[in-house]
Symmetry: C2
Subunit: 335 residues, 2 copies
């Protein structure tokens, strides 16, 4: 297999994890470019033991690039089309194109077929959506899904390196009885829960909540799946947890659901209550899989299930999923 | 009004908060006894500026006591009946008698009438149930409730003073990069979420989850209310948060629900997204009310609402509710 020229755009928490995952999974990288804003240009990053100088992104940066992974933010809005015009396939982790009907929104375990109709740009879903749909897909295939009620417990790493630093600093301030200061989160995140991720919209939902509602339908290819979400930031460094209530169309027992999930790609079932085994953010940290546990029937409706779903939001929720899309393109002969 | 002889049984986080709340609310305390196990006997506590020596609880401790507040644990199982036999009215914060059909389970804002049929013992509900039913009651009265899906974000103070100490110690260990040790929680609670509160039952639910299911029906006096719960411990010192999804029998708009809640006893609506105002655990800490915000229609069903409900679990979830029951008994001439 020929090596590919790869660009990673962004050097924050997600961009750095993209480099790590490309290396770990031994993606066939030929020439590597690490691109960022002028603020980060000149910084050094390491990939496979070699140092790379971060370059400032320009429309010309993408000449000869086969695949460009955009970590997030505004970069893909500014340079995404130029990268495509230069011949690169763009895999974009930002929210800029996810709901664009011309852009596939892909989780390889769920809708790999959607990479086939890409027009140069493929979107990576929101972190909290990715881990949910990976867990829902085997249940959907077996029994259909009518409705999902999800509450999230999201780590600060989803808001970037500065948010990680802020949780650390504020925690120390609280423990020392000092006044708490912050600028990333609207309120103190240390030893507190914030029901506020991304901006609020006219309908009373946060943008993060509506991402879970809308992206789920697009990825699953089913506009009849009804989703309602409450997304909450919790004082965890890395690893999102989710309490997911699912109403299936046909009955699934807890043990049927456990069996389906244990055979599902990308899923690890951790569900042994006698041994206090259930998914935990600190154990999912650094892992590429989606962990599912607390699988139990919801006795309040005829066809209900409750699940506890945890994943590393920087990996499966962002970098790993993006690299998996690139691998899928390779397999399909689309790169 | 004549002063009453009061016993507080327990000197942990809840027992100490009971003393504080009795003092703050100026409950007409005549003689005060502070009772505990032999381990705590001899300790000193302060009430209205006076020192009290903690006495070991015996069946004889309750002679002449009018009202005995049991903070939790096994004490009411051992001494509750003796206290009643001695003529005291027992208000019990433990789980020992809550579902006993001979024992009223009371939240004064919700079912004050139930104190009237007490036979000497009145149970205080579980902390996570109390704040939920206070928020649900005005919606129930206006539109009926078919089903509730709740996910909790529960503070460590609910597990007692040792749990508070453990979160503090583990947080420090993580920040200093040291190995984390613990003995109160089954896994590290610092910078992590544990979907495990109380023991697990045969049906796959935790006892805490089933308390929310069963106590809600009893307090609301409606066995047709269907509830499913996922209860989760989060690294917050004090103040439980809850994401509550409600299906009402008749339609309520978000603004109707907001209006009903803003007039409800014991409720404070904090719901101004433009000013990033929503309930927060760190702001509910030390307060007696239940805070409700993020009130929005759930578009996934015809009659759905989502709420974010926060309260001080040691106060409204335990001590304040117990003292309010005593106040109610006084008002009703039942003490």
């Amino acid at each position: 297999m020929a090596n590919l020229n790869v660009a990673v755009v962004g050097t924050g928490a997600v961009g750095q994890t993209m480099l790590k995952v490309l290396e770990e999974r031994n993606f066939p990288v030929g020439r590597l470019k690490v691109l960022a804003t002028s603020r980060s240009a000149g910084k050094k990053v390491t990939f496979k033991g070699e140092e790379y100088r971060v370059e400032e992104t320009t429309p010309e940066s993408f000449a000869g690039v086969n695949v460009a992974l955009f970590a997030g933010g505004e970069a893909s809005k500014i340079f995404g089309r130029a990268a495509v015009a230069a011949g690169a396939v763009v895999i974009d982790n930002s929210n800029n194109f996810r709901m664009d009907p011309e852009v596939p929104l892909v989780v390889p375990e769920v809708n790999p077929q959607d990479v086939r109709w890409h027009k140069g740009l493929i979107a990576n879903p929101n972190c909290s959506t990715i881990q949910m749909v990976v867990a829902l897909k085997p249940l959907y295939d077996a029994a259909g899904i009518k409705r999902v009620v999800v509450s999230t417990y999201q780590a600060v790493s989803g808001a970037g390196q500065e948010a990680i630093d802020e949780l650390r600093k504020q925690s120390q301030q609280v423990l020392e009885g000092r006044e708490v200061s912050g600028r990333v989160f609207p309120w103190q995140i240390a030893f507190n829960c914030l029901p506020h991720i991304d901006i609020f919209l006219e309908n009373g939902y946060s943008k993060e909540e509506m991402k879970m509602v809308n992206e789920t339908k697009k990825i699953m290819g089913d506009n009849d799946i009804r989703v309602t979400a409450t997304t909450v930031r919790v004082p965890v460094f890395n690893g999102h947890s989710e309490a997911i209530n699912v109403e299936t169309r046909e009955k699934l027992t807890a043990s049927q659901a456990r069996e389906l999930l244990s055979r599902a790609p990308g899923v690890v079932v951790v569900d042994d209550l006698d041994n206090k085994a259930y998914p935990l953010a600190i154990q999912a940290d650094g892992r590429d899989e989606v962990f599912v546990g607390r699988i139990r029937e919801d006795f309040s409706i005829a066809n209900g299930l409750n699940l506890w779903v945890v994943a590393d939001n920087l990996r499966k929720g962002a970098a790993t999923n993006a690299v998996q899309i690139a691998e899928l393109l390779l397999q399909e002969g689309l790169l």
